[in-house]
Symmetry: D2
Subunit: 345 residues, 4 copies
């Protein structure tokens, strides 16, 4: 059994990791940490876990924890993550970091969008953990940077078109909508029920921190510069991201031809489901699961392709993808422990 | 492998049965029926099921189906169920009926609340499928009447007090609140999004059809007549029932003493979780699972006990309990295939 | 024009007072205060107000404000209110206090449920501002204690039965459900979107601070002690309280006879709407308005009457009732500025 | 007093017309029609209206109604509208038609997207009722085609840029999200609570019937062909449309410069609110009102401008705009009866 720790267990990503890991046949959860709830059983923090995980929350002592586990999930905010990741690696643990701290390859870009980085030396070995793109590298690394939720939905939606150079790289638009859990469990005004419920708004237009991450990965596929407008919106649901992506086709392609391309590209992937022509994804159909559902329409009138992807931001956008990455990293079957059926309605 | 059919698969109870059964290690789903969607793969009706169950919906032909399966789940409206259940039994199938047609023991009561019954001869052998009360009988029957969602939540909340005769049987009040999926997937005005969302109302006060079912089962525990006020409300959530039950204590008992009683009574039950003193259930903590969470307070000021129970109306209130009943009926472990972790948030 | 100040304008009760008062033909809003947003225009705090009220938030300086206004609405938490109310009164202002600080008549009871009170000398002259009960006293006072939201819904539901002594005063149960805005705009975990959405729970069973307030007012009507079980629940909607009240009838009365009694009792009231037999209130039908809708059923089986009332907790449960009180206090027509049509859906 | 009829009063647009008109000082509602609820008081259909409008629903007899009223609001589905509009006009009534039947100027386009038209002779005199564009013509017509909800939000968002020819007319993208009331009150599967709640999806990509309407009006402003990608989405809220519009700037313009342009263009408009730089609209801030809030960002990285507009689809997107049109048509002040303050939260 693989011994793991979940560091930062009292956030929504933390509880989601636990929800998935308690049913994983090759994993033993040995440690959960929470600064705020130290000393409290995790199932008092999340009564949903009663009967499944009743570990007592510990404080985050790298040395103590590293001795007891093989692999650490760091579900901390950026900046907090970089303070502990090097220590866990030095002590011999594998690390899957769910923060943004090791996703960008260019230190200057990181420091422009976030803050000073204390361990940029790790950038070279950190692997961006999007298995549908980078599975090979994930087998051999000790540090995986788990992708952001928005980037996961957008990159998977556009990758087949970009790899085949079918679209104008300067024409990309991603209009994304995320459920409120994407903002985390921190108590802030904008996350209050009455502020989000029955409301809808865009935020961070042309300035969201996920933009460089998306551009880095898409540019890597295209071997060229990418020009992307990314607009996130706050959606009054608990879970789910739907990204509606627009791109100018360089040559005319029918909806059917493009769907064929997607089916081929993702044929071997466990967690990509391509919708047949005439159907489109709904976040309700991936709820609680690691799926990314993709549908598309080629609009002959405008010469554009519109690709829509749906994920659960806490699963394929965070905890589920982290477990998928763990499976690959540890040579388990990629889908082990992730065979969750979507809960509808 | 047990071969099963899900009759009436295109409702919310149907898709929930499929969600659970596709992961059950001893079950093979051989047939799904839907009058409305005959000829359509069930995953076009519910894209959530893509990759898990892609059977084509059949029409409901008892003879044809009975030959191919060992057990039938009838997820039909009352009246429709009684039209096919006798045929399946006659053909040698076991039946778990999720309608109200075989829950009541007294034909006159059934016909007062519903309509004429065409096979009252089966009442004697039908077992009311609440395993926490009737597990013994469930092992040996061929026909299980799966309880209603409201009755499940109320009976489990009150049973320990009634069995011990600690409360006045004429003082019972159950104030219940159910998510909208309890109304089914039929298209009717009251189930529209804009009619239910941001709204809340009581309905069917002192006249809901689940009343005689609750009274029958509670009276059986008490060996006495029961006087219950049951008020259902429509709650703007997809899933969940919370029942707040009130009863006059016949003698003073502390919250702690009563919780002790509940812990003992339900000690061996896989799906009952008793909340510690000071904590109360939330439907969010049982979402997607077969749990019934129970909390209570003894109010010394008024001499009343207030018991609160939470279930997922589609799981413990319908499909999950049906699978639990199937497990018992077929000598599998009671919890097989039901080890789902609640999804929160 | 009556010059008014809204003290504590940046909470949900504050913005609701402003929403109503900007359209009041006899009122000029001269001052809004907010500690947190001092110096900011109130329409930057609440962009909904742009074009209606763009006053700059001030700090709470009693002397400065008292000179500029005739009447003050204190929309502060309890304890904060008592720190400023005596000053406003001493400076000659009328005060409508929306906190709990002047609702209870018995200092010991107040201090048992809240904390030490610094101006209990004002209890004698403070009038409990439920106009349907106390309109006479409201004309002549300078200090109105605006009722709590739950008490408003429960007292209005039960008053006609209690005044006529038709029910057993020891049998009262109020099972209430409130929208999340009832918890205010303070940032706390339980008010987060993901904690409340798709959830439902009871809280504060047999221990909620509104209990003594309800008991005080109902006991006053009955000239006797009252025994009430009050159970509040958190409802995933922005606005609305629905209270389902149970009482044992002392003599048999039909639904029709009881409705007749309610129609007579509330005949002259602008804001009480009695539902015809067979219909029940829904919070959706009072949204944004000062109405209290009431429906009831007499259950001959159990000898109980079940009364259901619906209000908008921010209007009849807070700001609207405060304006109604102001109207009476200042000899305007009781309904002036409150002729808002419910917004449905 | 202007005597009006609301034809098709039992839909969401109908009840919204009544909500607004009951408070209009120059209007007397003389007639409401509903095929489905003929003979029933409208406040039994919508209890929210009790005390405000209790007219009995009539059947739709053009001759009978036309004699009693000066102006008719037809809140019917397309096709049903064209069956009665010519009759009302012939009988001397003014008509404001809320359907799509008289919005398009080109019969061939209408018949391509809808069906055969029976009175295309009226196209020439029908005025497209977007007062911010066409106020002059609205004064003198007897037939106003009230705009669609999506087109209202998109045209108002883009008009200033298009009139000044600042953007590439082939680069337009409108990614719109609408609350469920936009689908009407008809009972259909997709409008059920459990189908829409906690879900989100795009629909009608590159094929929605509002596309030609938007293109017609924008092309009119530009004197050129327009190429628009329009993607509607179903948003789990009762009310509100948010449109996120993308266009390539033909020359570099700062956010501030563009906002200045919008402020000037809409300076005299009662219902357009331009958000200051750094702020963006939220549907929650226009709820229940006739406002269109607009914010924008000029993205120097991509050379695009992103304009976001928010309306209440039932008010500025339907009933409120219809009343605004009535006001202009009848020489009342444009904003009469529409001074509703947004309800937040």
């Amino acid at each position: 059994m693989l011994k793991v720790a979940v560091v930062g267990a009292s956030g929504y990503t933390g509880v989601e990791l636990l929800r998935i890991l308690v049913g994983h046949p090759e994993v033993e959860i040995c440690c959960v940490t929470s600064r705020q709830h130290e000393g409290l059983p995790i199932n008092e923090v999340f009564p949903s876990l009663t009967g499944f995980c009743e570990l007592v929350c510990e404080s985050l002592d790298v040395d103590v924890i590293a001795k007891r586990v093989d692999l650490v999930f760091t579900a901390l905010p950026h900046k907090s993550a970089m303070e502990v990741v090097p220590g866990f690696l030095a002590a011999g643990c594998k690390v899957i970091d769910l923060s943004a701290d090791y996703r960008l390859k260019d230190r200057a870009v990181y420091e422009q969008w976030y803050q000073t980085h204390s361990s940029p030396g790790l950038f070279a070995e950190a692997v961006y953990g999007l298995p549908e793109l980078n599975a090979d590298q994930l087998h051999t690394t000790r540090l995986i940077a788990n992708p952001g939720c928005y980037p996961t939905s957008i990159i998977l939606a556009l990758a087949p078109l970009i790899e085949k150079q079918l679209i104008d790289p300067k024409s990309l638009i991603a209009d994304s909508k995320s459920g409120v859990s994407g903002a985390g469990r921190g108590v802030k005004l904008g996350s209050l029920y009455c502020e989000a419920n029955e409301g809808f708004k865009a935020y961070g237009i042309a300035s969201h921190r996920h933009t460089p991450e998306i551009e880095q990965e898409l540019a890597g596929l295209f071997n060229s510069h990418i020009r992307l407008s990314f607009t996130p919106h706050l959606l009054p649901v608990n879970r789910g991201i739907l990204s509606t992506c627009y791109a100018d086709l360089l040559e005319e392609k029918s909806t059917e031809a493009l769907l064929e391309l997607y089916l081929e590209r993702y044929e071997k992937e466990s967690f990509i489901r391509i919708m047949p022509a005439g159907q489109l994804p709904d976040i309700a159909y991936v709820r609680g699961t690691n799926f990314c559902d993709i549908g598309l329409v080629s609009d002959q009138q405008t010469g554009r392709v519109i690709v829509v992807s749906a994920i659960d931001n806490l699963v394929k956008g965070a905890a589920g993808q982290a477990v998928q990455n763990m499976n690959i990293m540890c040579d388990f079957h990629e889908a082990l422990g992730l065979g969750i059926v979507p809960i509808f309605p």
